[in-house]
């Protein structure tokens, strides 16, 4: 899994993990978030998710933020840097969607 930092393109997994962490969440919660939001289309293996979390934490886009009271599960949350990256990715995707719509829907004779 590699993210192209300069071009701004994130992998789907990376972007979803970051989105799941706009609220502090633990590994299991992240997995549930992703499965729920994609209706099970994107189901991550636990090892893959672990790699993604560590990768994002080492970039400083997410950070550990204590433990969940009661269960002592490790919590993570997105950082300010992470939010900036996510916002840029959103803009890139909107632009991409706009172009795709223009071409695909425009050429389909739909206009």
């Amino acid at each position: 899994m590699r993210d192209n930092v300069k071009g701004g393109a994130l992998t789907e997994t990376t972007f979803f993990v970051m989105l799941a962490l706009y609220r502090p969440n633990h590994g299991y919660g992240i997995m549930q978030f992703i499965e729920e939001k994609t209706n099970g289309r994107l189901a991550l293996g636990a090892g893959t998710l672990y790699g993604a979390i560590n990768n994002l934490a080492s970039k400083g886009w997410i950070a550990p933020c204590g433990e969940e009271p009661g269960s002592a599960k490790k919590l993570y949350a997105i950082t300010e840097t992470g939010k900036m990256v996510a916002e840029r990715e959103l803009e890139r995707l909107i632009e991409l969607c706009g172009i795709a719509r223009e071409i695909i829907e425009g050429s389909g004779g739909g206009k």
Binding site: G40, L44, I53, K73
Partner: protein, 207 residues
């Protein structure tokens, strides 16, 4: 129920066997270097996966195990090779005098992580998509480790032949070294297979 069994580096065989036991209604509760202990459970209630952890440092392994346990999985460690060792001290039959005792860094005798999860009909693999590079790196580590053990044992075998050691020890070491070389070859083939797959899926991977 206790079963004495040894799979060495044949991870797939070990995984299949554990899953077959689970299908019959046996759940793993404890592992030692030569033994697996099972309790009764509902048939097909659990499923098992094995991950190779050697070469990762202890704190990483512990962190990973904690993560998996938080996900609701259970984990066990298992040795990949048979050595006469207590803790981190290892007996090397081919060495002389005090050098027969060697110490090992890292997670020695816990090279394998057995992961148990409840069978819920959902995703089965610990590693999914987009991870082809990690899988290749993983296989490479497996291959190198086996090759390394094969080499050490082959040297031990030669040393005990020319050093005037007993014939039995030489034969034992020779057989073990062949065993590890065979495993190394198995992982070379697996690596090649994985690389082919990676190339074919390269286009879809993006996003």
């Amino acid at each position: 129920m206790r079963v004495f069994c040894y799979f060495g580096g044949f991870l797939e065989a070990q995984e299949k066997w554990l899953n077959k036991m689970a299908e019959k209604g046996y759940r793993l509760v404890r592992t030692t270097s030569l033994m697996y202990e099972f309790d009764l459970c509902a048939p097909s209630q659990y499923e098992y996966q094995i991950e190779f952890m050697a070469g990762k440092d202890q704190s990483h392994v512990q962190d990973y195990r904690r993560f998996l346990e938080e996900m609701g999985y259970r984990t066990f460690t298992k040795n990949i090779n048979l050595n006469f060792s207590i803790g981190k001290a290892r007996w090397r039959p081919w060495a002389k005098g005090a050098a027969q005792i060697a110490t090992n860094p890292g997670n020695y005798n816990q090279e394998l992580l057995i992961v148990e999860r409840e069978r819920d009909g959902k995703l089965t693999s610990l590693h999914t998509g987009q991870d082809a590079e990690a899988v290749a790196a993983y296989l490479k580590r497996l291959m190198n480790t086996n090759f390394y053990y094969g080499l050490i044992l082959a040297m031990g075998c030669l040393l005990s032949i020319f050093g005037g050691g007993s014939k039995a020890v030489a034969i034992l070491l020779g057989v073990l070294s062949v065993f590890f070389f065979v495993q190394a070859v198995i992982f070379v083939l697996a690596l090649r297979h994985a690389n082919n797959k990676k190339d074919n899926e390269g286009d879809i991977e993006g996003v």
